[in-house]
């Protein structure tokens, strides 16, 4: 029998029992939907973690002050002042060969203003090398050169969002920006990095670290009231670099072997890896759940097809009497369960993509449509239809026409 005719018959039979068809499809819909949502969401989450990592720059360690302990109660990281500007200089001597660049990073939120508008943004005080560590260039004007970065010049490099908020479409370079009331000259605008999971990367501005200390802190101090970004020469030197830094700082801080570190070194790559690992584990678990759901859905299909064969025994008898061969009857029921499963797969695809899109919006991820997974899921749905439809279809094809014709519904 012609395949289009068979398809038409199948669609009509399914359409006749709309509610039943929908309920039967539900298992497959949720199975496929879960797979799609899980894969898409997983990719989004991984990308988000990658983005954070990448925005920090690659091969970067973060050195912060340790936590203050008073009578056994630990304060948060950085609550204790221990890192000094002299420590920073000591790290910069080149003694630790795996260190490539070092940049102090002080930051706070404050009010900034142009002649026309004002805005609240994050102000970063750092040196010229920071832009290299962050791999962040200017699209208008320039970033600091080494001299500017080490001076107390009142200049600022502003992020894209700040530029738009304060200067609209006009060129901010050379204009005056007021930061906490003080006038600065805008010397550059940074390239846009866009939205990240931590918020808008472009909502920031950068001034020399000395200027920062003098104008936004309490003046030049002994301690670094912020963090230090350290970039490494190679990917695989994190362990060594961390222990070298630790050794050097413990020495300088005159810590005994029994003392805890009074500083912290974090490796964002490790954090990113851990995040990716846990995302992967959750994805695997979800995949198992989805597989179970698909299996249950398949049993649902088989169940309903068996009922359908019994209900339509008489129809099968009539068809056989007018010349339907066993293979025709088998094909009819097989195509029906295939269509049922594939329709379920399509609905599941839509549902999964919708859920993934919603998740992406909610968590601020990028939305991915996992085309390969969708194609596989589709094939799996079809496979479920064929595998679980086979037994009922064979049963239908083996009916004896005489018995089937006599069957009373």
């Amino acid at each position: 029998m012609n395949i289009f005719t068979t398809l038409k018959l199948a669609l009509r039979a399914l359409w006749r029992n709309k509610v039943r068809t929908l309920l039967t499809m539900a298992g497959i819909v949720f199975g496929i939907g879960a797979v799609i949502a899980m894969v898409s969401g997983g990719q989004g989450a991984q990308q988000a973690v990658k983005d954070v990592f990448q925005s920090l720059g690659t091969n970067v360690l973060i050195l912060t002050n340790g936590s203050q302990r008073s009578f056994g109660a630990a304060g948060g990281a950085g609550s204790r002042q221990s890192l000094t500007w002299d420590d920073l200089k000591a790290l910069q001597t080149g003694e630790i060969t795996t260190i490539k660049w070092i940049a102090p990073t002080l930051q706070t939120r404050t009010q900034v203003a142009s002649e026309e508008a004002n805005w609240n943004t994050q102000v970063v005080g750092t040196t010229a090398i920071w832009f290299q560590i962050r791999n962040w260039a200017a699209v208008q004007g320039t970033v600091f050169d080494d001299d500017t970065g080490n001076s107390n010049a009142k200049v600022a490099v502003i992020g894209h969002t700040v530029a738009t908020q304060l200067y609209g479409t006009s060129n901010p370079v050379g204009q005056t920006i007021r930061i906490a009331g003080q006038p600065y000259e805008v010397i550059g605008v940074l390239a846009s990095k866009g939205q990240g999971p931590m918020g808008d990367y472009d909502d920031t501005l950068v001034i020399p670290v000395k200027t920062y200390e003098q104008k936004l802190s309490k003046g030049l101090a002994k301690y670094i009231n912020g963090q230090v970004l350290i970039s490494m020469v190679t990917d695989d030197s994190a362990e060594r670099t961390m222990s070298s830094i630790s050794g050097l700082l413990r020495d300088r801080h005159k810590l005994d072997a029994s003392d805890e570190d009074d500083f912290r070194i974090r490796n964002p790559a490790e954090f990113a890896q851990a995040q990716q690992d846990s995302t992967q584990r959750i994805a695997t678990l979800l995949a198992i759940v989805a597989a179970v759901s698909l299996f249950v859905g398949g049993i649902g299909v088989m169940n309903i097809m068996l009922v359908s064969v019994i209900e339509r025994t008489r129809e099968i008898g009539i068809r056989m009497a007018v010349g339907a061969k066993p293979i025709d009857v088998m094909t009819q029921f097989l195509v029906e369960s295939l269509v049922l499963a594939v329709l379920g797969g399509m609905l599941g695809l839509a549902l999964g993509a919708g859920a993934a899109k919603y998740m992406a919006g909610y968590f601020g991820w990028k939305f991915f449509f996992p085309a390969t997974t969708a194609a596989i899921a589709f094939l799996v749905a079809g496979g479920v239809g064929v595998v679980f439809g086979l037994y009922p279809a064979i049963r239908a094809s083996r009916l004896d026409p005489i018995t089937a014709l006599r069957y009373e519904t």
Binding site: M1, N2, F4, T5, R16, R314, E315, G317, I318, R319, M320, A321, V322, G323, A324, K325, P326, I327, D328, P401, I402, L405
Partner: protein, 236 residues
């Protein structure tokens, strides 16, 4: 010319529980093309088994059955289905139309299994419906048709494949006498067009429309006589 149907020593036994039931115990029957024949007998006489075997729905346990010169007694299920589709059109007591399906689609059904394309199916099905005066009911579902109309749809379905044999199993059993008369008129018309019509019935007044009556009892033919058929002519 060889006979259309030639049965020799046909036996059919069933196993029912521990018992062996002999439904047919050696039947010889020859039917020429273009004739009308009534198979009569009471319930349990073996006439249903006879019809099932003649209609290629069932196969004899022993004996030979030549249909159009070809032995069909040992065919596979698939081959039998093919023979049914080409050679035999069934008309049943309970009409056996597909519910929730239009008259036209019911009539098209046998053609689907012969692999005939949709447009051609459509055309031929409409032609068959016109032959039973139901062209104007083509889109009606079975439930929207009267018993007589449903049986006419069933006859159209039996005709559409251009099978030479029409097997009618108690075709008027569910109809009142007026519609029975109409249905018999159509069947007699088919004989005039050269079809072979086999009526299976237990009613003598239905058998009277055939030109030959074969009577079965306990799985054997006990009577086989020719007669002049009563004419079923629809009043103009």
């Amino acid at each position: 010319m060889a006979a259309l149907i030639e049965m020799r020593g046909v036996e059919r036994t069933y196993v029912m529980g521990d018992n062996l039931v002999h439904a047919l115990c050696g039947v010889d029957l020859t039917i020429e093309a273009g004739s009308s024949i009534a198979i009569m007998g009471t319930s349990g006489s073996g006439k249903s088994t006879m019809m099932n075997i003649m209609g290629c729905l069932d196969q004899p346990t022993r004996g030979s059955y030549l249909l159009n010169g070809k032995d069909v007694a040992r065919l596979t299920r698939t081959q039998l289905a093919d023979v049914r589709g080409r050679m035999i059109g069934f008309v049943f007591q309970s009409f056996n139309l597909l519910s929730r399906t239009s008259a036209l689609e019911n009539v098209e059904m046998p053609l689907m299994y012969q692999g005939i394309p949709g447009r051609e199916r459509h055309r031929r099905a409409l032609g068959a419906l016109a032959a039973v005066n139901l062209a104007d009911r083509a889109d009606h579902h079975s439930s929207q048709l009267s018993g007589g109309q449903q049986q006419r749809v069933a006859i159209a379905r039996a005709l559409v494949g251009e099978a030479p044999i029409i097997m009618a199993d108690e075709p008027t059993g569910n109809l009142d006498s007026k519609t029975s008369f109409e249905v018999m008129a159509i069947l007699q018309g088919l004989v005039r067009q050269g079809k072979t019509v086999i009526l299976v019935t237990h009613e003598a007044d239905i058998a009277a429309y055939a030109s030959r009556v074969v009577t079965l009892r306990d799985g054997l033919i006990i009577d086989d006589k020719a007669q002049t058929p009563v004419k079923a002519e629809v009043a103009a």
